[in-house]
């Protein structure tokens, strides 16, 4: 899988700072698992955090702070328990892949507009707020919209084209409030993507606006 569209560097910095919400972080983390290039940049962004920590103004700790920690580590050996391995699915790395059902045909879709269906992610497990699956039928489009906040999309299968280019399986579309776009599913197969937002989208025109309470994308 060759990835043509990556998360913005500013997004990797927000992830390093710990200021991306869980849904957006899940998209970034799933990309980092398969993209050594962005992982290198993410490490560099961590390095900026390390430098800001090292040069932070030291604040005086409470008198018993060291003793309290020493008491807690008394007898504590190295942590050896291996965390349960998390596996991706359908070409999507963990942590998002593990939220997908074993068969994509098991996804329970809800029609939310002409040729557009939506589903929850992780029917049985946790469904981090702000994460949705979207399926766009061939030739159909998501109504033109801008974003109040940050929207990141990971394309799972199929592809779409919008003002920013063509997005195929594995690509990330990383958009902020200044982008206005209308993704069109551009092959003979459905375009399935995972969308994370930290604020509702803003549709243009009155019909999509009326639709919004039902769509919630």
């Amino acid at each position: 899988m060759s990835i043509r569209h990556h998360p913005a560097e500013t997004t990797l910095i927000a992830y390093a700072a710990g200021h991306l919400d869980e849904a957006l972080s899940a998209i970034v983390a799933s990309h980092l698992a398969v993209c050594p290039r962005c992982r290198g940049r993410s490490r560099l962004a961590d390095g900026i955090g390390g430098e800001l920590l090292d040069s932070a103004e030291p604040a005086t700790l409470r008198d018993d702070a060291l003793d309290a920690v020493l008491a807690r580590i008394a007898g504590a050996g190295p942590e050896t328990a291996e965390p349960a391995p998390r596996a991706g699915r359908h070409g999507v790395a963990a942590p998002l892949g593990q939220l997908l059902p074993e068969r994509l045909s098991d996804i329970r879709w809800r029609t939310v507009g002409p040729g557009i269906r939506q589903a929850r992610l992780g029917e049985t497990g946790r469904d981090p707020e702000g994460l949705k699956l979207l399926k766009i039928a061939p030739g159909r489009s998501v109504p033109r919209h801008t974003h109040r906040g940050h929207e990141m999309t990971l394309i799972v299968s199929g592809s779409y084209t919008d003002e920013l280019g063509r997005f195929q399986a594995g690509d990330i579309a990383d958009l902020d409030g200044e982008v206005d776009h209308q993704p069109v599913s551009d092959t003979g197969e459905d375009c399935i993507c995972i969308i994370a937002t930290d604020a509702p989208l803003r549709f243009e025109g009155w019909v999509p606006r009326l639709m919004q309470p039902f769509v919630r994308i």
């Binding site: 913005a8 500013t10 910095i13 927000a14 700072a17 710990g18 200021h19 869980e22 972080s25 970034v28 983390a29 980092l32 698992a33 398969v34 993209c35 050594p36 290039r37 290198g40 940049r41 490490r43 560099l44 962004a45 961590d46 390095g47 900026i48 955090g49 390390g50 800001l52 920590l53 090292d54 040069s55 932070a56 103004e57 030291p58 604040a59 005086t60 700790l61 409470r62 702070a65 060291l66 309290a68 920690v69 807690r72 580590i73 050996g77 190295p78 942590e79 965390p83 391995p85 998390r86 596996a87 991706g88 070409g91 790395a93 963990a94 942590p95 892949g97 981090p128 906040g149 409030g177």
Partner: protein
């Protein structure tokens, strides 16, 4: 709101040199409490300062220090100096503890045990030195940033806000905030010789 200290982020309080990598190695190999106390003496007050500057209460800041340092003790053997410098590694622990304590939420991370994980390409010989050198270069690059770029870098780390909120607060277009951050990041990337 955080302000940029005169003299830049590394100004007057530049850290006295400690060899965090060696101290962590002694904690990992010998469970050396003296080395651990040295790490605590250096990083404890800085974690607290960093957290309070990020808007944490004193109680929360102390809690993050405790949780972080306990994890430093129990996970020292997992520290890999080829992957990160000591400050960077401890920063990532403190960042995650803070998210844990404030939001009781996850920060999803890539899992190297995921069968889909794509490993790093083999490194060239130049890169196999420890990351300590990188940390010095990053420090140097940050200290040389123009003030308006340094300000955005600091706000990005210290303010728990999306970049759009930082833009609003500074009364700047979001595009300006992002381009300053990109320029700053480009300088940091250049300083460690990262290409592409």
């Amino acid at each position: 709101m955080a302000t940029v200290r005169s003299g830049g982020p590394t100004g007057a309080t530049a850290a006295p040199e400690i060899d965090g990598v060696a101290l962590l190695a002694r904690v990992a190999e010998a469970r050396c409490r003296l080395s651990f106390a040295d790490l605590f003496g250096h990083f404890g007050p800085r974690i607290k300062g960093f957290m309070m500057r990020s808007g944490a209460s004193e109680d929360l800041a102390e809690e993050v220090v405790q949780e972080t340092m306990v994890t430093v003790w129990t996970k020292a053997h997992l520290f890999d100096p080829a992957k990160a410098g000591a400050s960077t590694w401890i920063f990532t622990i403190a960042r995650n503890k803070r998210i844990d304590l404030i939001r009781r939420r996850n920060r999803p991370e890539p899992d190297p045990n995921d069968p889909m994980f794509v490993p790093d390409p083999p490194e060239s010989g130049i890169e196999t030195v420890t990351r300590k050198q990188d940390e010095r270069r990053i420090r140097q690059a940050i200290s040389e940033l123009p003030p308006e770029q340094a300000q955005i870098v600091m706000l990005s780390f210290f303010e728990e806000l999306p970049h759009s909120a930082i833009a609003e607060r500074l009364d700047l277009p979001l595009g300006t905030v992002k381009s300053r951050l990109r320029l700053a990041f480009r300088k940091v990337r250049d300083s460690v010789g990262e290409d592409s």
